[in-house]
Amino acid sequence: MVARRRKRAPRGSEDGIPGPLGYSAVPIKFSEKQQASHYLYMREHRVREGTKSSWPQKRTLFVLNVPPYCTEECLSRLLSPCGPVQSVELHGKPELAESPKEPKSKFFHPKPVPGFQVAYVVFRKPSGVAAAVALKGPLLVSTESHPVQSGVHKWIRDYTDSILDPEALRVEVDTFMETYDKKIAEEEAKAKEEEGVPDDEGWVKVTRRGRRPVLPRTEAASLRVLEREKRKRARKELLNFYAWQHRQTKMEHLAQLRKKFEEDKQRIELMRAQRKFRPY
């Protein structure tokens, strides 16, 4: 453990930054003031044969270890010298698919607190990826021309952003419910059509909406039926009628006591080990 202390000097040198297999390490700092830097690990986005990925081949740069204060815009700005950037997406962990086009509703899915993330940067041209991998850095997240807020300023901005317009919410809810209602109405209409109509092989689909409703097909309902059956059977049985039944119950009682006794002995053993019997 102690031997792990090493000099930090070699890291500044050009080739000194060790990058893992296939990745290149690019130092990144928040601003000029910082002494130490984090390292972005970048490489071209590739997937094994057979796995599907929706990211465009050749043009996508895969970046690991993006610090929490580095946003999409910021990353885009930092990498734009390498070539025009088409899109930047940040994720909590490596994901193969692009996120759905439709953005999530800001009302129902508040922005999560960022940690260290991975980024998929899509360049317009494949050359951008090569240029990015060859970057030397250190990259600066916040510069004078493009300051990035953090700390108290960021929290105040977040708080302000969190106060949303109720009208917009209402509109969103209304549109959602309209489409939902339409969908439900369609489904019902379809179900009504099928009601009582035999299919090709002559089977009739029985649903809850029919004239004679049937038991719902749920686990709870089937359990209830089973329970009822069991009770019915138990009522018919004779208890403590035959001699062997007597013997068995007695034996059962004894076994219970033995089991309890064993358990108790174990507890005592444990208590003794914990010196729980010293009243002083």
Binding site: R4, R8, P20, F30, Q34, Q35, A36, S37, H38, Y39, Y41, L64, N65, P67, P68, Y69, P94, F108, V113, P114, G115, F116, G151, V152, H153, K154, W155, I156, Y159, I163, D165, P166, L169, V173, D174, F176, M177, I184, P216, R217, T218, E219, A220, M251, L254, L257, K259, K260, F261, D264, K265, R267, I268, E269, L270, M271, Q274, F277, P279, Y280
Partner: protein, 1146 residues
């Protein structure tokens, strides 16, 4: 396997073969033993964890032997469970003396006997002429007045007999004492020695001479004086063996007169044996008034006479019955745990043995009973019999000359006569001690009857020190004030009787006085007994005032505490004068609403916390008035911890009132919600779900009136925003209220759609509340914030069936089954369990007014230790509730102070590994259900969280502790509690005042690797800190309601936001600790496992960097950059990042 046989062979070649074999055998055996040991360890208990028992079928169902059947039957009839039987047997094994030690003690006793007989005699001298005494020894008695008639000479004892528990076999560890009676030869004593302490003087001189000679003997490790049961007239000599046996045994020498020397009729309780003329040095008043009786003095002589006859009685009763001996031993443990057995007037083991003998003689106990049954019978007897009213007697003779029980009741508080019918065994026991014994017996009986699983533990293993058993305690110090009190209370006869011991003389009248004054507020008053001191033979005996302090414990009656009025009789009645006399200047004539004019005392108290301290006012007033003890000598410990839960501006209240105001406001709001018109569905339930609404929020909310100039305004949303250039605005936490809407076919059956419908309801709710009641509202998709009278509530609309819909899973066959999902569990917790818990605890507060204080102190403490965020709010509340619902062996606490001490005790001693903490809210769980829960717990232990709290609503999963704490954090809390408890108790027991009570609330910071110091400017709750800063920043609050109401800044707490970011970014590298109540420092602990270098993995690069290590690439945390990140993420809030340890400097 390889090298071992080779080594053996080599050995065999060189050494002789004969030596080989045994050694080999030895190793084989050892090996076997080891393996078998390993086996049992693995089988039974790994790291002290209970495991479900697995017995094979054959073992379970084999034919029972008659022995086994007998044992089982015996267990059923003599004990109430086999566990109890085993526990009792274990305990007895632990406290009993081993045979080996007995042999050593016997040998020592034989030596002692020889040495005593060899002590040379002395010539006869006057009692007052003590010049013959050698220089190195002092008379172990205060000889006041000094002059006394009579002569003394030393002669070896006529008889040396061992008496007491050692011979009976009821002697228990620790401190093994062997009592030895030395019968003084008749020649030493004279006719009238019973008079004027002459007998006691001779007794003391006898001991002094003995001590001098024995002290020179190398056999003894120490020779010291002490008092018999703390009685100042009766010293005794302690002998301890030399060398390593020093702590084995203490032999106590009691000189006693020949049994027929004193005439018993001279020593009846109505007789006087200490003449006033002699004692006070003045002639008796000429009017011929009779001398005052000296019952205690007489008793002390009688006790010496009866030593042997008591011994005989006990040995005939206990000698043959082992069950009775076990019972006595158990009772002694029981008394010892309650601190009842020591000191003058203690309920000693001897008394209990006599009580057992009495119960045997009245056939309440049979000799075949087991120890447990004896314990139970004695407790039952104590619980139901009041010896202060109806004394009992072991004497069955119908001698007409014997005094009646009534005579004894006149002279003594508690009456229990021995077989002679003349000696009251309980002479020194005060009424309050006896009531305490009774109270304890009653509690214990209740515990035994409740068939609690851990009854044994609570009954015999849990110590009940005064500080933890009583709600308030008070010290009277210095004790010399009691001398003045005796004069004030006109207790001269008692002083004469007690030989000048003003402490015990004043004790009875003082406790009676206080009991009378506290009447309706008091459940029980107990006093400490002065400890029995020991001193070197060359020193003077300790003075009465040297016995430290007198400590009184008050067990309060919560229902009596709320009244500030002491109602007296009507002014024209004769009792009015007594009342005036009793209360002195505090008594006033008052006219009441019903027209009556009465004497009354009114105490100044506005808030609950002040009302709780009315007993302090009563006690100090009465002591000053009647006993001349000024309040500087009365140190009252009752509200010392209140300061920690007091609000910023209220120094007179501990916040119960503010909480009640918030709850009232909530009640109004819920009424508004019920009556709201225009909602498409009706409201089916409104339930609180916030700590404030169950009275457990540490710092209760106060109405907020924000100053506009301090904030940015967002006009279109009618909200205030924090301003970057100002200090952080005041922290306002909205109080969560769950509003259930009725079920209806209109609700969609799809989770996403339900979410939208709920959002629509939130919007509607906000509109309606604004329209119909003019309240400022702000709706979001999940909640609506409502500003009402300065309080902010967060209303969450809920739909009963939503969790179920989230749970539904459709199997491929189309069967719908219900499976818990994280989302459904969370929703169920928030909308179902939390409101249920809140209402249950709200109810608990109504029953136990101290609950709020205890829960808040407990939470305050845990948070002050920076561990607050590891424990959920609810789990801590439940632990506090357990103190009230399961107070055994105590009673529910009536003051925050004692409740907090018990919280610390519970946390530091509870065995979370093997027990669930069952909190039986509303008493919904039956005993059988609890047993079931326990067995279910054992079976599922490995899947359950470290800390398991079971409530009637949550019997299996312990939802409030599922996400934490981790075992290490819990362990840390246990350690901290175990350290804090003795410190705090010591502070409270210190009669000079507790000193700095906040000591135990300050967290240790030396364990953290990094400290992040925050700037107070952006800590909105800075003023809540344990050491509240003298000045802090303005938080933009007005003292008066402002002109219009914009929504204040809600839930904006920069340290919390900062912590959330830190945890998200570095949660797998470090742990972060912070006190949310105004902490100025965040403690960071690196996680050792994350600092192990490991190979590169794309999914695990967070905050790490690659370094080459011995040619291989490995990932290690980029500590330097991370430390700088700490500062960047908290820009403006972080003052400094202090890396304290170098150990992680990778």
């Amino acid at each position: 396997m390889g090298p071992a046989p080779a080594g053996a062979q080599l050995c065999g070649d060189t050494g002789d073969p004969e030596m080989m074999e045994p050694s080999l055998e030895g190793t084989v055996k050892e090996g076997k033993k080891e393996s078998s040991k390993k086996h049992t360890v693995a089988g039974s208990s790994v790291e002290g964890l209970l495991q479900p028992v697995k017995l094979s079928r054959v073992e379970l169902y084999k034919e029972p032997t008659s022995e086994e059947l007998n044992r089982l039957r015996e267990t059923e009839s003599l004990f109430h469970s086999s566990l109890l039987r085993l526990q009792v047997e274990e305990l007895l094994k632990e406290v009993r003396l081993s045979e080996k030690k007995k042999e050593r003690i016997d040998a020592f006793l034989r030596d002692v006997n020889q040495r005593i007989m060899r002590v040379p005699s002395t010539p006869e001298t006057e009692l007052t002429d003590q010049a013959w005494l050698p220089a190195g020894v002092q008379v172990p008695l205060h000889q006041v007045p000094y002059t006394v008639k009579g002569c003394f000479r030393f002669l070896p004892p006529a008889q040396v007999t061992v008496v007491g528990s050692y011979l009976l076999g009821t002697c228990i560890r620790p401190d093994i004492n062997v009592d030895v009676a030395l019968t003084m030869p008749r020649e030493i004593l004279q006719d009238k020695d019973g008079l004027n302490q002459r007998y006691f003087r001779k007794r003391a001189l006898y001991l002094a001479h003995l001590a001098h000679h024995l002290a020179q003997d190398p056999l003894f490790g120490s020779v010291r004086f002490s008092y018999t049961n703390g009685c100042h007239l009766k010293p005794l000599l302690l002998l301890r063996p030399n060398g390593k046996d020093e702590h084995l045994v203490t032999v106590r020498l009691h000189p006693c007169p020949p049994s027929d020397f004193f005439r018993p009729c001279r020593l009846l309780p109505s007789k006087n044996n200490v003449r006033s003329a002699w004692y006070r040095g003045q002639s008796p008043p000429g009017d011929g008034s009779p001398e005052p009786p000296t019952p205690h003095y007489n008793t002390w002589i009688l006790q010496d006479i009866a030593l042997e006859s008591h011994m005989q009685l006990l040995s005939t009763v206990l000698g043959s019955a082992s069950g009775l001996r076990d019972g006595v031993a158990l009772l002694k443990v029981w008394l010892r745990q309650r601190e009842l057995d020591k000191g003058l007037g203690g309920f000693s083991g001897f008394l209990v043995s006599m009580l057992v003998a009495f119960l045997v003689s009245t056939r309440k106990i049979h000799t075949t009973m087991s120890g447990y049954q004896v314990l139970r019978s004695v407790l039952q007897f104590l619980a139901t019999t009041d010896l202060t009213v109806n004394g009992i007697s072991l004497c069955f003779s119908s001698d007409p000359f014997l005094p009646a029980l009534a005579d004894f009741h006149q002279a003594f508080a508690v009456v229990f006569l021995d077989s002679s019918g003349r000696l009251n065994l309980c002479a020194d026991v005060t009424a309050s001690t006896y009531h305490q014994v009774q109270h304890e017996a009653r509690l214990s009986m209740m515990l035994l009857d409740s068939k609690a699983d851990d009854g044994f533990q609570l009954l015999l293993m849990t110590p009940k020190p005064m500080i933890r058993a009583f709600d308030h305690i008070l010290h009277i110090c210095p004790l010399s004030r009691l001398q003045a009190a005796c004069h004030r209370l006109k207790l001269w006869p008692e002083l004469q009787d007690h030989g000048g011991d003003y402490v015990s003389a004043a004790l009875g009248p003082l406790t009676t006085l206080l009991e009378q004054g506290l009447r309706s507020r008091l459940h029980l008053l107990a006093h400490s007994r002065p400890p029995v001191s020991e001193w070197d033979i060359s020193q003077d005996p300790p003075k009465h005032r040297d016995s430290g302090t007198l400590t009184l414990g008050l067990l309060l009656r919560p229902e009596g505490l709320t009244s500030v009025l002491e109602l007296g009789p009507e002014a024209d009645q004769p009792e009015a004068a007594d009342f005036r006399q009793f209360w002195g200047s505090r008594s006033e004539l008052r006219r009441f609403q019903d027209g009556a004019i009465r004497e009354a005392v009114v105490w100044e108290a506005v808030s609950m916390s002040q009302k709780r301290l009315i007993p302090q006012q009563v006690v100090t007033h009465l002591l000053a008035l009647h006993a001349d003890i000024p309040d500087t000598c009365v140190h009252y410990m009752g509200g010392q911890l209140d300061a920690l839960i007091q609000g910023l501006k209220e120094t007179f209240s501990t916040g119960e009132e503010s909480l009640a105001a918030a709850v009232r406001c909530y009640d109004e709001l819920s009424r508004l919600l019920w009556g709201l018109e225009g909602l498409p569905l009706t409201v089916s339930a409104v339930q609180g779900a916030h700590p404030v609404l169950r009275y457990t929020e540490v710092f209760p909310p106060t109405p907020v009136w924000p100053a506009y100039s301090f904030h940015e305004r967002l006009r279109e949303r009618a909200s205030l925003l924090p301003r970057p250039d100002k200090p952080c605005p005041a922290y306002v936490e909205p109080m969560t209220v769950v509003c259930h809407l009725e079920g209806s076919g209109q609700w969609p059956q799809d989770a996403e759609a339900i979410q939208r419908v709920r959002a629509a309801f939130q919007l509607r709710l906000s509109e309606l509340l604004t329209q119909q009641h003019g309240l400022q509202c702000r709706a979001t998709a999940t909640h609506t914030d409502v500003l009402k009278d300065g309080f902010v509530f967060r209303i969450c609309v809920a739909y009963q069936r939503e969790p179920q819909i989230l749970k539904e899973i459709r199997s491929p066959e189309g069967m719908i089954s219900l499976r818990d999902t994280p989302a459904s569990l969370r929703l169920e917790k928030d909308t179902k369990q939390l409101p249920l818990l809140t209402s249950a605890l709200h109810g608990l507060q109504q029953q136990h007014p101290a609950f709020s204080g205890v829960a808040r102190l407990a939470k305050r403490w845990v948070r002050a230790q920076l561990l607050g965020e590891e424990f959920t709010n609810e789990s801590l509340d439940l632990v506090a509730a357990a103190l009230f619902l399961h107070p055994e062996p105590f009673t529910p606490p009536s003051s925050p102070q004692v409740g907090f001490l018990r919280f610390l005790f519970l946390v530091s001693t509870f065995d979370w590994k093997n027990n669930p903490l069952i909190v039986n809210l509303n008493n919904e769980l039956t005993a059988e259900e609890q047993v079931e829960i326990r067995s279910g717990f054992l079976a599922a232990r490995t899947q359950l969280p470290v800390m398991v709290i079971v409530t009637p609503q949550d019997r299996k999963s312990s939802i409030w502790t599922q996400d934490g704490p981790s075992p290490q954090i819990l362990q840390q809390l246990v350690v901290l509690a175990a350290k804090a408890l003795p410190v705090l108790e010591k502070q409270l027991l210190d009669p000079r005042g507790p000193g700095d009570i906040r000591t135990v609330f300050r967290p240790p910071l030396d364990m953290y690797d990094v400290l992040i110091h925050l700037s107070p400017r952006h800590i909105p709750r800075h003023r809540q800190a344990v050491d509240s800063p003298a000045a802090s920043f303005c938080r933009g609050l007005l003292s008066e309601p402002g002109p219009s109401s914009l929504m204040p800044v809600l839930g904006f707490d920069p340290p919390q936001l900062y912590l959330a970011q830190l945890r998200e970014a570095f949660g797998d590298l470090a742990l972060f600790f912070y006190d949310q109540h105004g902490g100025e420092v965040i403690g960071v602990l690196w996680k050792p496992t994350s600092f192990q270098p490991h190979p590169f993995k794309a999914s695990n690069t967070k905050g790490r960097m690659v370094v080459s290590q011995g040619g291989e690439l490995a990932m290690v945390p980029n500590v330097e950059a991370i430390l700088e990140d700490f500062a960047i993420l908290g820009e403006g809030l972080v003052r400094a990042v202090e890396a304290r340890t170098e150990k992680w400097n990778v």
